[in-house]
């Protein structure tokens, strides 16, 4: 009898302690901080990213969370300004105690923030900003990128440009590092493919300040130049204003080849609708109709059901980063920052965009890319891509030696 009692007490104690440890594990949630542009002319990107993030968090929390812990999200507005970006990331880490930071739209913000992550010892997963520097000469242990970078996108642009009729190229881009670097890399990669190709000198191309709302002067400048090919690296509200004003001024009259490097952002396509000209080559980081994988189908269907729009590449970026973080944390069986960083390094994961591998040497995602030609389709409220041109991650990603990254 006494033995039975002692067994019962032991069992009760065991049950209690298991329960207690389960409670302890579920105690603190996994905290994720998000930094996107939530105000100003690029604020739709932040809105889509937030929606993508919320969808991923909902899915993961419904399935039991990460290692049994629920995700708690903190959203901050970078306003697209480097100083604000640094401030809100410090706040997320020191005040909210986040386990990782996800986001960043602007290359200017990303370049300023990446070095800070070393000091904060917190993983950062960049989902949109494309400057090669953060996985290149400024790479560090804590900074990762899950989306395509500028080199990868410009490799694709150059591959498409090589098959076009244009002989001399110029550009219209935003007047900050992104616009200038896009042009540099485009010239570099296209020259590799076709050394005879001509490029206008930097003094004759057009870079418009980000606050520009009237692009007529830049459009006139490009139309009156001798170039017959134009690389447009404007994005967000700038791209919307540009496309509209350029259409009115006869820019898309077929006399010149045009590449819109970020033209397939659904944020832009939804704003322009049928004002987006047809038959123009546009780039993106992700296209919702880009593949038929079950991962993509479930993402697009869930997103469409929840928000009644098709997901943009920025929505996908935020969604993908959370899925990657969750995969890393469950591989590490912990959301400890150092362990997650180790697990993210070299992580391979199947995302809606396809199979993505984070290259251990520079933390850049090797991911497939897509460009397409704009086309009208009555089944969609926006312009769609038809035909599309797919590129494998391997063919568009420059080798590590070229990136200038020295991981310490």
């Amino acid at each position: 009898m006494k033995k039975v009692w002692s067994i019962l007490v032991t069992l009760a104690f065991l049950a209690f302690s298991i329960g207690a440890s389960a409670v302890m594990a579920a105690d603190g949630p996994v905290k994720l901080g998000f930094v996107y542009i939530m105000s100003g002319p690029f604020a739709t990107y932040g809105q889509f990213a937030k929606q993508g993030a919320e969808l991923a968090i909902e899915e993961i929390n419904k399935a039991g969370g990460i290692n049994g812990k629920k995700i708690e999200a903190f959203f901050e507005d970078s306003a697209g300004k480097p100083d604000v970006g640094i401030r809100v990331i410090r706040k997320l880490v020191y005040e909210n105690g986040v386990d990782a930071v996800i986001g960043l739209d602007s290359s200017g913000v990303a370049s300023a923030v990446a070095p800070i992550m070393k000091e904060l010892k917190t993983p950062l997963i960049i989902t949109h900003a494309a400057t090669p520097d953060v996985t290149g000469k400024n790479c560090n242990r804590y900074t990762f990128r899950i989306s395509l970078n500028e080199n990868q996108n410009m490799k694709m642009a150059a591959a498409i440009a090589a098959d076009m009729k244009a002989k001399t190229w110029t550009t219209i881009g935003p007047d900050y590092s992104f616009g200038h670097q896009s042009w540099e890399y485009f010239e570099k990669y296209l020259k590799e493919k076709k050394p005879e190709m001509g490029f206008l000198p930097v003094s004759e191309v057009a870079f418009a300040p980000m606050k520009t709302t009237d692009f007529s002067a830049y459009i006139t400048k490009v139309m009156n130049s001798k170039a017959d090919g134009v690389l447009v690296s404007l994005w967000g509200g700038n791209l919307i204003d540009f496309v509209r004003q350029a259409s009115d001024m006869g820019f898309f009259d077929g006399k010149r080849e045009v590449l819109l490097t970020l033209g397939a952002a659904t944020e832009v396509l939804y704003a322009l609708k049928d004002k987006m000209p047809e038959g123009i080559w546009v780039g993106t980081r992700y296209w919702f109709a880009g593949n038929d994988s079950p991962e993509n189908k479930s993402f697009v269907d869930a997103y469409k059901a929840k928000y009644d729009t098709y997901p943009s590449y920025n929505a996908h970026g935020a969604y993908a980063a959370i899925k990657a973080f969750a995969a890393a944390a469950s591989k590490a069986k912990s959301s400890d920052k150092e362990k997650v960083v180790d697990a993210l390094t070299g992580l391979s994961i199947t995302l809606p965009v396809g199979k993505v591998t984070i290259r251990p040497e520079d933390h850049q995602a090797i991911t497939d890319g897509i460009w397409g030609k704009t086309a009208a389709d009555p089944a969609y409220p926006i312009r769609v891509l038809k035909p599309v041109k797919n590129f494998t991650g391997a063919e568009i990603t420059p080798p590590v030696a070229e990136t200038g990254c020295k991981m310490e």
Partner: protein, 286 residues
């Protein structure tokens, strides 16, 4: 040559939009002595309201007429209940107050319409393009170029010849004396503030088909319009006109000919004017 002509058109169409906004800013400053930081937000509000009206009643013209009026009514409320209590105080109170109103309106717009960009189509009669050499130019931009001087001339005539225009000028010159001879300054101030807001709203409604209606629509133009007002001379109509023309043309030719300095050009001009004629080109030197 063709580049030159198109650059002139580009500069004029932007300049005339700038002129409308600067006129409101300069009138409010000239008469009331209030530097209205919220002017750009009123411009933005004009654009959003005209966009909304155009969607509801699908008429650009009704939007163009009613949006500025709605903005003016809002301005009456702002003047009557917020601005009036701080007239007697230090000028920094007014600056802080209008700055607060600006933040409030900007976030209000974001709350109501969200961060997305909206397009407004010009009315059919203005939506075409016409050929210039071997390219096309939108008719709507010509309409903008015509609207600036038209509204400018109407207002100039109003201020020069009508009784109310003269009263406003009198009050601007010497408020106390005007009150002594029977001008009801408080109502006059409300009217002038509403009029400035109406011009901002009109500018916004006119800008809507020309650029997309989004959260930062007023950011760039309001900075330039402050420069216009300082260059032209605070409170001066012809000053606003000339200043807006200069800045418009500087923008279009600067982008083509001096791409590395284009962002600095308006500020360089501002510095030169402030050093040589501190009260602006048309400002009266005391």
């Amino acid at each position: 040559m063709e580049g030159f002509l198109i650059n002139v058109l580009n500069g004029l169409s932007w300049g005339m939009l700038l002129f409308l906004i600067s006129m409101g800013l300069t009138t409010v400053f000239g008469v009331m002595g209030v530097l209205n930081f919220a002017h750009g937000s009123l411009f933005m509000l004009g654009a959003y309201i005209s966009m909304q009206l155009t969607r509801w009643i699908s008429s650009f013209w009704l939007g163009l007429i009613f949006a500025p009026i709605i903005v003016a009514i809002l301005a009456i409320i702002i003047e009557r209940f917020l601005l009036r209590p701080v007239y007697g105080r230090d000028v920094s109170f007014q600056l802080l107050l209008t700055f607060g109103v600006m933040l409030f309106l900007d976030d209000g717009v974001r709350l109501i319409w969200g961060p997305a960009h909206h397009l407004v189509n010009p009315p059919d009669v203005l939506s075409g393009v016409f050929p210039v050499f071997d390219q096309t130019y939108p008719v709507y931009r010509l309409f903008l170029i015509a609207m600036g001087p038209a509204i400018g001339i109407i207002l100039w005539a109003f201020f020069s010849y009508s009784r109310y225009g003269k009263i406003i000028r009198a009050a601007a010159m010497d408020r106390e004396m005007a009150e002594i001879i029977g001008v009801r300054a408080p109502i006059l101030f409300t009217a002038v503030f509403a009029f400035g807001a109406w011009l901002a709203g009109l500018g916004g409604a006119l800008a809507a088909p020309h650029q997309s209606v989004g959260p930062a629509i007023g950011e760039h133009i309001i900075i330039e319009s402050f420069i216009v007002v300082v260059i032209g001379g605070m409170g001066s109509f012809p000053g606003a006109f000339v200043g807006a023309l200069i800045l418009g043309l500087l923008g279009s030719f600067g982008a083509t000919m001096a791409p590395n300095f284009q962002m600095a050009l308006p500020y360089i001009l501002l510095a030169i004017v402030l050093l040589t004629r501190p009260r602006g080109i048309f400002g009266e030197e005391s």
